[in-house]
């Protein structure tokens, strides 16, 4: 399997606060990686570097072998931010049309993909409503739709389960597993350990900017004969 993401001895500090420290991690094609850690562990900073929002202070990051700050690299990447902030004066069709245009998609393709994704995320009934009237869960679903719009090979989902009701959570889990069967590579950060245990091939746990565990889920759970939640707590308390 080829490496989709390569993070090599990366560090990043905000002033005196060391957000990420000497992180080395890779993600192979077709894998689902659960990127876990407590609040402030450095997950979102790592994701922002993966998207080229800023460069690391030290080390190298490559996505599909390219610099993530190159616009062309992001053609293969879909991103759903931690908190769904979208233009409140647009409806979901207009939002997807806007992002589709940004991805350089033709009007016909945007229309086709939008209809498909709106149906898949269960937002058909709210198609004409402005986003400012959406609930938090609906905004999360709009975020998933915009991330999938240009059919990316790599999906980076930052806390995708936040604000979703149990039914929507199951739908999202099914959607992610379906994307895996289509060969997509997925990295998602989450506090939902049960979801991570159900879906991920591998988990990486961060603590205070450092990677403290990077193993296949089955290995972690079977070796210790317990669940991921217990392992997570043990890892954070022991290291």
């Amino acid at each position: 399997m080829s490496a989709v993401i390569t993070i090599d001895h990366v560090s990043k500090a905000y002033g005196t606060c060391q957000a990420v420290s000497d992180l080395t991690l890779s993600l192979n094609s077709g894998e689902i990686l659960g990127f876990l850690g407590a609040n402030g562990a450095g997950k979102t900073t790592t994701i922002k570097m993966l998207l080229g929002f800023f460069a690391p202070d030290n080390g190298q990051i490559a996505v599909y072998g390219q610099n993530p700050s190159d616009a062309a690299t992001r053609q293969r990447v879909g991103y759903m931010p931690e908190t769904a902030y979208y233009y409140p004066y647009l409806n979901i069709h207009e939002l997807l049309s806007f992002y589709g245009g940004l991805c350089g998609m033709s009007a016909d393709l945007i229309h086709q993909r939008s209809e498909e994704l709106i149906a898949r995320t269960g937002l058909e009934h709210a198609g004409k409503r402005l986003l400012k009237t959406y609930s938090k869960g609906m905004l999360q679903r709009a975020g998933i739709a915009q991330a999938l719009l240009h059919d990316p090979d790599l999906l980076i989902l930052d806390e995708p389960f936040t604000g979703l009701d149990p039914l929507a959570r199951i739908q999202l889990r099914d959607l992610i597993l379906d994307l895996k069967t289509k060969g997509k590579t997925i990295l998602f950060s989450s506090h939902e350990l049960s979801e991570a245990e159900l879906m991920c091939d591998r988990v990486a746990i961060m603590k205070a900017g450092k990677l403290v565990l990077d193993k296949p889920v089955k290995e972690v759970v079977c070796d210790n004969n317990t669940n991921l939640e217990r392992i997570f707590l043990n890892v954070l308390q022991s290291s």
Binding site: K48, L51, G52, F53, F54, A71, A72, T73, R74, Q75, V77, G78, Y79, M80, P81, T83, Y85, Y86, Y87, Y89, L90, E94, S97, F98, Y99, G100, G101, L102, C103, G104, M105, S106, L130, G143, Q146, H150, I156
Partner: protein, 259 residues
């Protein structure tokens, strides 16, 4: 094609913003309030005095268009950052320069459409009111006013990447108004001073935006003859070059900005 689609999508977003936030309704009401009563009134029954009311109306149009276009431009990037809509935007396969250009072009188009609305209403009212209307001067006034908007919005865009929106509007507002009022007097002022200060004033004179080049209000109100179109085109070209330089500097800053 790819880049054009991206720019077109970004420009549409600015127009949606203008339309959905009811800004156009406010502008239309403002245009009616400013222009209709002033243009129809004949103060003290003195024939010709309405010209001075027209002058006030046009001055108010200048001020409001300046405020609307500068505030909208000054808030493009800060609003994206504050509302965090910048994150999904930057994650898309568009370069930061394209994003900045598309958003700026959209706001510029929105500002020019507001300007068009004011001038359209002005022409309509004056045509209804009097038999003679100086069409050529009117078109030159609109053309140069559009150049002025291009110039000041590019300055506001550049400032928005240095300052917070309030400081940006204050600094750029003072610069634009000062150049409007005192720009032409700077060479005379420089001549009155000794060398180091003279050089400083001259440097400022050549670097600062020459807003006074774009004001045709007096010619329009008092029905003075039109200026040669070549002069108008030179002034407009000056605005385009100045705006291009400001955009180039703004894109440099935006590309290095930590989000």
């Amino acid at each position: 094609m790819h880049t054009l689609r991206q720019i077109s999508a970004l420009m549409r977003l600015s127009l949606f913003d203008l339309y959905r936030r009811k800004d156009l309704v406010v502008v239309a009401l403002l245009a009616v309030v400013l222009l209709v009563p002033l243009s129809f009134a004949t103060p003290f029954g003195v024939k010709g005095a309405s010209r001075y009311l027209n002058e006030i109306a046009l001055l108010l149009v200048w001020i409001f268009v300046l405020v609307i276009s500068m505030t909208r431009t000054a808030r493009i990037i800060p609003t994206e950052v504050e509302s965090r809509t910048i994150y999904p935007l930057l994650a898309k396969p568009a370069s930061r320069t394209v994003i900045l250009f598309g958003r700026y072009a959209g706001v510029l188009l929105a500002s020019l459409s507001v300007l068009f609305l004011f001038y359209f209403l002005y022409a309509l009212i004056n045509n209804l009111k009097s038999a003679f209307f100086p069409w050529e001067v009117f078109l030159q006034a609109f053309f140069l006013h559009a150049g002025f908007i291009i110039l000041v919005t590019s300055l506001a865009l550049l400032g928005s990447l240095y300052f917070n929106p309030d400081a940006n509007l204050s600094v750029m507002g003072i610069l634009v108004v000062s150049m409007f009022l005192y720009g032409q007097q700077l060479p005379a002022l420089a001549a009155e001073h000794a060398l180091p200060i003279r050089t400083l004033i001259h440097t400022f004179y050549w670097l600062a935006p020459h807003c006074e080049l774009f004001d045709m209000r007096t010619r329009l109100i008092h029905h003075w003859p039109a200026v040669p179109w070549s002069v108008c085109c030179m002034a407009f070209l000056y605005a385009l070059i100045y705006a291009a330089l400001c955009f180039w500097a703004a894109a440099g800053l935006f590309n290095r900005k930590k989000i």
